[in-house]
């Protein structure tokens, strides 16, 4: 997976992973396409059946693997194809935002939007806004930080090892 960690910061553009529910937001993105509404190409959509399927770990994993932001799209409150999956998503979203702040990740990197199947124009607007927002925040590059942290730990581990061998009594 070495290619995952290569980032050319000179030409950095935001990379946003989007998790869209099948019934509303994914369909809205299809509608935006059919209506030829142009928006920023920085978004990569992954389809799930319901925003309730979005495990907070998906968001953390995306950020860890190099995403600069994550967008979750679900049906409007009261419109969920599965009655209330979007409410479950909303709860997790709020907790996750607090957790991200505690981890030192700007909470603005995560966004939840209710976009109905008829709101192609909203997909366009939200994606453009989000790209602008992430542009302001700059790269997250968590995977690079992980590398640095790994190096620091390796140095520490090495030092401990050296000390242990040095103090080891001779048999």
């Amino acid at each position: 997976m070495s290619d995952l960690t290569k980032t050319n910061d000179k030409h950095w553009t935001p990379r946003i992973v989007a998790l869209f529910c099948n019934w509303c937001t994914y369909t809205a993105a299809d509608l935006a396409g059919v209506s030829r509404m142009k928006y920023a190409p920085n978004i990569r959509v992954i389809r799930v059946m319901c925003s309730g399927r979005v495990d907070p770990q998906f968001v953390l994993d995306a950020l860890a693997k190099g995403a600069d932001g994550v967008l979750i799209g679900g049906c409007h409150p009261g419109d969920c194809h599965y009655s209330e999956g979007n409410y479950k998503c909303l709860r997790r979203y709020h907790l996750l935002k607090r957790m991200l702040a505690d981890l030192g990740v700007e909470p603005e990197r995560l966004r939840l939007e209710w976009i109905s199947a008829a709101e192609g124009e909203k997909v366009q607007r939200v994606v453009n806004e989000m790209v602008e927002q992430i542009n302001k925040l700059g790269p997250l590059s968590l995977h690079k930080k992980f590398e640095e942290w790994d190096k620091e730990i390796a140095v520490l581990e090495h030092a401990v090892q050296e000390r242990d061998t040095a103090t080891k009594p001779e048999i």
Binding site: R15, V17, D30, G33, V34, R44, I46, R53, Q57, K88
Partner: protein
């Protein structure tokens, strides 16, 4: 063909296909570059681009490769999976591969159609393709679930759309429930006088169909009733209907109307809804002579035998203060029942047709046209009633002051094609305005001036109709009316001045007229939003119910088993409404006659390492999860699971798996879209 059963530890062999879609994709995405990039990814055996993947040769290409190269995973980068996933699954299945080994990559709707930069779009296509290539090794062979379907159909709305759909289904031997909010079926069409372009009388063609609905053994007709709750899914909807009290026993009333004649009100006194308040009715009344069902009803708001005003729970209290001549007139039939209350019925149906229609634009919203201010300004539906032989004036076109108009202005596009009101064209107004012009000339010999923005008369025989009206001497003026005001030289007569710019001659016109007819546009019903929620539908930005695909699935909705007919989907004329109603009936029949519904096998199941924490149980909206007390583990009832995946996301130990959306599948997609691309 014998299905290919994947052997354990058989190496993953992926075939990747990228579609040009003519130039729809290829103009923006360098499909050749994507195919070359994917060819080098792990597990990929073949990687090709082709002009039209969904075409027969495109599908054959995949099938040939499955046979020749022993492919066991297929990735197709083309349009939205909502459009062609089914196509490619079928193609793979025909070549012996489990259809769930196919994954689609949406590079048209989500890429080439929304981006302009070729490099960026190609990079995105590579990232999305890689996600799928990393995803498919985790795919499992799955089986489509088959669930039986209830053959009964519910039709909501008894206008011409609902009537035609009901008769089509009933004639094919299906049991239909037709629920109509008003006391009679017929809808707007029953109010029209004549219909364009043939000028045949609306009721002459409609009333036989209405009567057929009333008499059909396969149709259960519930008028003055409303759907209040919808539960369940395609094949098995539980629908709750409120049958509002009409204070008449439907089975006992014969429609003789002796009660109406006997009512203590000797003269009709109350505004008659069917005639839009232009006529009067009694507290006991039949909406109109050809009403179906042909029975009377009592308006408790004005009937003397009820106390004034509604109770907080919506009921009315019987005062028993009237002489009740109606009861005496009814005699042994005993059809009148002042103690009747709303009745709640629950039915089970397998499919639903929405035919809830439209409402007309409220011309009060364009006050410069004088509706509601000057008595001689009418909306077009009111004029339909005024020229109708069964209308309040017996078909004589007279103004509120009893005079015949000598000059009439018809204003097109009222409320339509306007940033301030509705942006859309209502499609029928130009034609019904021309029709009214002709009918008004016919009835009164008046001079008629039609003010239009653009004359829109598409459709079979419509342009010919327009030419005919023009030849009859109707004045057709291209100009939007800016103002309607009383004639300052003649205040008493009620004469109005219509001011407009004739954009063909660049002249400001001020034409004195006796009557102004506003050709109001069509709007979604006031409670369309409420209905949309109840039936779990989508609405367009304007508020019309949204079809699944504007061209290829125009009567289907995003909710399986619910179909659309008539103007609830958007403005349309009667021929198109009837055609759509027939299509909706055919779609419902296709569903019923198949006998079962195929469900996506995206249900969830619990692994053995469940710790029994029960977090998932209250999350399930379908109560599909129960707790096995002996094993101390959660269990998911596959028949109840609808595959939302909410429990999967919540399981703290990762012990719930959703088929088709397994954690590994989504994690590998995330990794894939974030991988570096060569460009």
């Amino acid at each position: 063909m014998k299905p290919i059963v994947p052997k354990r530890h058989e190496p993953i062999r992926i075939g990747f296909y990228i579609c040009h879609c003519g130039t729809n994709i290829a103009a923006t995405v360098d499909v050749g570059a994507v195919a070359k990039y994917v060819a080098l990814l792990p597990n990929v055996v073949v990687s090709r681009d082709y002009k039209y993947m969904c075409s027969d040769p495109g599908q054959e290409l995949i099938q040939q490769d499955i046979r020749d190269n022993r492919l066991n995973r297929i990735v197709v980068a083309a349009c939205s999976p909502l459009l062609h996933e089914h196509t490619f699954r079928k193609a793979a299945e025909a070549a012996g591969l489990n259809p769930f080994f196919v994954q689609m990559v949406n590079i048209r709707e989500h890429n080439s159609w929304v981006h302009t930069d070729r490099t960026e779009a190609t990079r995105k296509a590579m990232a999305l393709a890689r996600a799928a290539i990393q995803r498919v090794p985790h795919h499992k062979p799955l089986e489509v679930k088959k669930v039986p379907i209830n053959p009964n159909v519910l039709i909501v709305g008894g206008g011409i759309a609902g009537i035609h759909a009901a008769l089509t289904l009933a004639n094919a031997g299906k049991m239909v429930y037709l629920v109509e909010r008003e006391p009679t079926i017929g809808g707007h069409m029953a109010k029209f006088d004549k219909t364009f372009p043939t000028l045949d009388c609306a009721m002459c063609v409609l009333s036989p169909k209405m009567a057929a609905v009333g008499a059909h053994p396969n149709i259960t007709l519930w008028t003055y009733s409303e759907v209040i709750k919808v539960e369940g899914y395609v094949g098995n909807f539980q629908v709750t209907v409120r049958r509002k009290a009409r204070y008449i026993n439907e089975d006992l009333c014969t429609g003789c109307q002796e009660c109406v004649a006997a009512c203590v009100y000797k003269e009709p006194k109350f505004p008659d809804e069917f005639n839009l308040g232009l006529g009067k009715r009694k507290p006991i009344f039949m909406p109109f002579p050809q009403a179906v069902p042909p029975i009377v009803m009592i308006d408790p708001e004005v009937c003397l035998n009820f106390k004034r005003g509604k109770n907080p729970d919506g009921t009315y209290t019987v005062s028993d203060k009237c002489k009740k001549n109606c009861v005496a007139a009814c005699g042994d039939r005993k059809a009148i029942d002042f103690k009747q209350t709303d009745e709640i019925k629950t039915i089970t149906v397998g499919s639903i047709i929405m035919a809830t229609g439209f409402k007309i634009f409220d011309a009060h919203r364009t006050p410069y046209l004088g509706y509601g201010i000057y008595p001689n300004v009418y909306n077009a539906l009111e004029v339909e009633r005024l020229i109708n032989a069964s209308g309040p004036t017996g078909g004589e076109l007279v103004l509120r002051n009893g005079q015949h108009p000598k000059k009439v202005a018809i204003v097109h596009c009222v409320g339509s094609r306007d940033e301030n009101t509705n942006r859309w064209c209502s499609r029928v107004c130009c034609l019904y305005s021309l029709k009214l012009a002709l009918l008004i000339k016919d009835h009164t010999d008046a001079e008629v001036y039609n003010f239009y923005i653009d004359m829109r008369t598409p459709g079979k025989m419509m342009e010919e109709f327009y030419n005919r009206v023009a030849e009859e001497g109707v004045h057709l003026i291209r100009g939007k009316v800016a103002d309607v005001y009383p004639d300052p030289t003649d205040g008493a007569s009620g004469r109005l001045i219509v001011q407009a710019e004739d954009t063909l001659t660049n002249k400001i016109l001020k034409i004195p007229v006796d009557m102004v007819v506003l050709s109001v546009g069509l709007e979604p019903q006031a409670d369309a939003e409420e209905l949309r929620r109840m039936f779990n539908l989508s609405c367009s930005a304007e508020g019309w119910f949204l079809e699944r695909h504007i061209k290829l699935a125009p009567v289907s909705t995003f909710t399986d088993g619910i179909f659309l007919a008539g103007c609830c989907q958007g403005p349309k004329d009667i021929p198109d409404t009837v055609a759509q109603a027939g299509a909706a009936a055919a779609e419902a029949m296709a569903l019923i006659d198949k006998g079962h519904i195929e469900q996506e096998p995206n249900t969830a199941f619990v692994l053995d390492d469940c710790s029994g924490c029960k977090s998932c149980i209250p999350l399930c909206p379908y109560t599909a999860i129960s707790f096995d007390e002996t094993k101390k583990k959660a269990v998911i009832n596959e028949a109840l699971c609808k595959g939302c995946g909410t429990c999967v996301a919540a399981c703290p130990s990762g012990s719930i798996v959703q088929n088709m959306f397994e954690d590994d599948e989504i994690f590998s997609e995330i990794e894939g879209v974030l991988a570096e691309t060569p460009i």
